[in-house]
Symmetry: none
Subunit: 218 residues, 4 copies
């Protein structure tokens, strides 16, 4: 059971090599998908990018579709994972900070996974009913988080009266569109993360706060 068991050691190293290979293929697929899109990308493209043989691919992934799923699942869980539920506290600033942190975290993840983000925002829709379902579930979860935050804010008198469901669409939609354009258009980038997040906050909060005297962005 100890690590110095030669049998286990071999196993471990084999496992490591296998994982390394897996990652290489995933990486190649990520690149290919983000450039050409799911449908325009062939398994052959991934093979070429990864420098492996056809059979090898299917040794690690059961299908083209599966590897795409896995890439997106990873992205989805990263995003879901980086968002923290707003902690109900006594003072406003605290909530704002949490919201700010959340947005910043999400933007960080998106920017840090340029390729996956592009895939998620452009290609991950309309593949088939199965996948649409999954993706919808993901987005619903995000909508719900935003919606609950809004409701909470309304209860606390921080957020003006509004249809929270609709506004949750607005909030996520505005972020999605901006991120996609920023990552896609070469001449649209060049903005630092700070600016981006502040613009998001300003845009959203000034529209959401009942009390216009609050100044969210320092």
């Amino acid at each position: 059971m100890t690590a110095d068991n030669p049998h286990d050691g071999r196993k471990v190293r084999a496992e490591e090599r296998r994982n390394k290979r897996r990652e290489e293929i995933l990486s190649a697929a990520r690149k290919v998908f983000s450039i050409k899109g799911y449908h325009a990308s062939s398994v052959a493209d991934i093979l070429a990018e990864a420098g492996i043989a056809r059979g090898t691919f299917y040794l690690y992934f059961p299908s083209k579709r599966t590897i795409f799923d896995e890439l997106l699942e990873g992205m989805v869980s990263q995003i879901t994972g980086c968002v923290r539920r707003i902690d109900v506290g006594p003072n406003t600033a605290h909530h704002l900070e949490q919201m700010f942190d959340n947005i910043q975290a999400v933007v960080d993840v998106l920017e840090g996974n340029r390729e996956l983000t592009i895939i998620l925002l452009r290609e991950a829709v309309g593949l088939d009913a199965d996948f649409d379902q999954k993706l919808n579930a993901f987005y619903y979860r995000l909508y719900d988080m935003v919606e609950r935050a809004l409701s909470l804010g309304q209860t606390m008198g921080l957020v003006r009266p509004c249809n929270t469901r609709l506004v949750s669409y607005f909030v996520l939609g505005s972020v999605k569109e901006m991120m996609l354009q920023l990552l896609t258009d070469d001449h649209a980038s060049g903005l630092d993360r700070e600016t981006i997040v502040r613009e998001i906050m300003d845009y959203n909060l000034r529209g959401l706060f009942r009390d216009p005297t609050v100044e969210p962005s320092a």
Copy 2:
């Protein structure tokens, strides 16, 4: 010269029948594409939906791709056509009204073409370089319109200082996301157009206006 010339009459009726058939096929394609997406839809699906034979399809449209293009082009031109450039006048209310009218017009078009809107918002990306180009051109045009309106608003002291490009992404993104969700989710609809437009205006304007005392929604 009169319409009751039998020859002309026959011609006219033939033309009518032809257009009717074309519309039927377009309609079938619209439905199929909006449900299954471009790639998952086969010409056979369209034939089945339209109740016609293979050859008939190609009698009216040269390819699967072409009919898809035509559907989207129609949608794009409807949207582009219903938007009026904001007329620069002396008083704020006037501008707001114009903006309101524009948004209302767009929302009307989108709601009136549920299937096409779904296609436009979900599927019309990543098909191929050619089409992406066209679609980008369309969105750029919209971005520019919004951006120019924002700049004008800033000049006139109505709009707070902001990165107008980024904010144009926000504005369109929020509307796109909301419309897609509204048209896609069965339980999310049920909102009347009035409410939707007012929410859009509130959400956007309260974030954009420098003077928070303005009350855009009556």
Copy 3:
């Protein structure tokens, strides 16, 4: 029964119109086939050339294949019809004259039906087993005529000993190739019929005659 029976007259005129139409279509098909070849020619091409509707074509000919057959049959019977069996007479010159006349007649027919000749020589092979059969029958008949003439010539001591079958291939082959090239290449034409026939005679006879002192071409 007389021609002035109004009913018969109408019938006759109808028959005439019908034949005229038939000829127009045949003519259009001839042109189209000779330019684009059988396979590259579509029924639509013929319709366009003839200025008729799809259905009309099938009112006169049961299929694309049939009209092609008919064109070639016409050509074949013209050729077969213009060749006269060599009349066995006592003197050589007479035979030569007959041969000369035959060749001249064939060349006349071929030159007078440029389009059909091209079709016959280029396209009328490899269509399908059925047609190949027919065409072979036609050529066999020609081979046989030449072969019998050669045998006769040998019996009469005019033709040198040779494999008459092989030589019949040579004779027809040389004429076929030349005609095709002459009709096909624009810069190869310009030769008058006289020259062509004399060259054919010289080429063939000087090789076939045992007695080299004979001077076939005047």
Copy 4:
């Protein structure tokens, strides 16, 4: 560096297998095309003949057209390659021998590639402008060789005055027709190569030589 390097060995054997398979498919296509002709042959026919799956075909050849081209190109280059330009020497016999060798070589190639010859002589015309071009270029080259040989012969006083272009058509035409008939008709074969070549020589030379006392065939 030696051949028994296991890696190289495997590579070499793989290459061999690939070539073998290629040849099998080529062979199947050759057979199918020579029997049914290009247009009447479907890729499915070739697959059935070769005993392979659809995909396999396209693994070795990009299209039906391509494999046909390759077959003919091979035949064309074999023919072109086996013909030697007549070497200008002082005595007649020498020239005749060279001519004889050339004809013999061509006949050998044609007889040794029965199927390809049939394809070349029957089908390789009227496929499309592209291919007709190629084939014409090939024939023009042959015509030119014959024509130049004739001109040379005329200069040397060996060949009687004649239109060398026309006669080059005669010469090639006679050989083409005979070969096609010989290879196509089952009952027409049975002649040995010697006889065939001698008949060709006799037929052509006795018509071309000014001096009829020359006896080309021993």
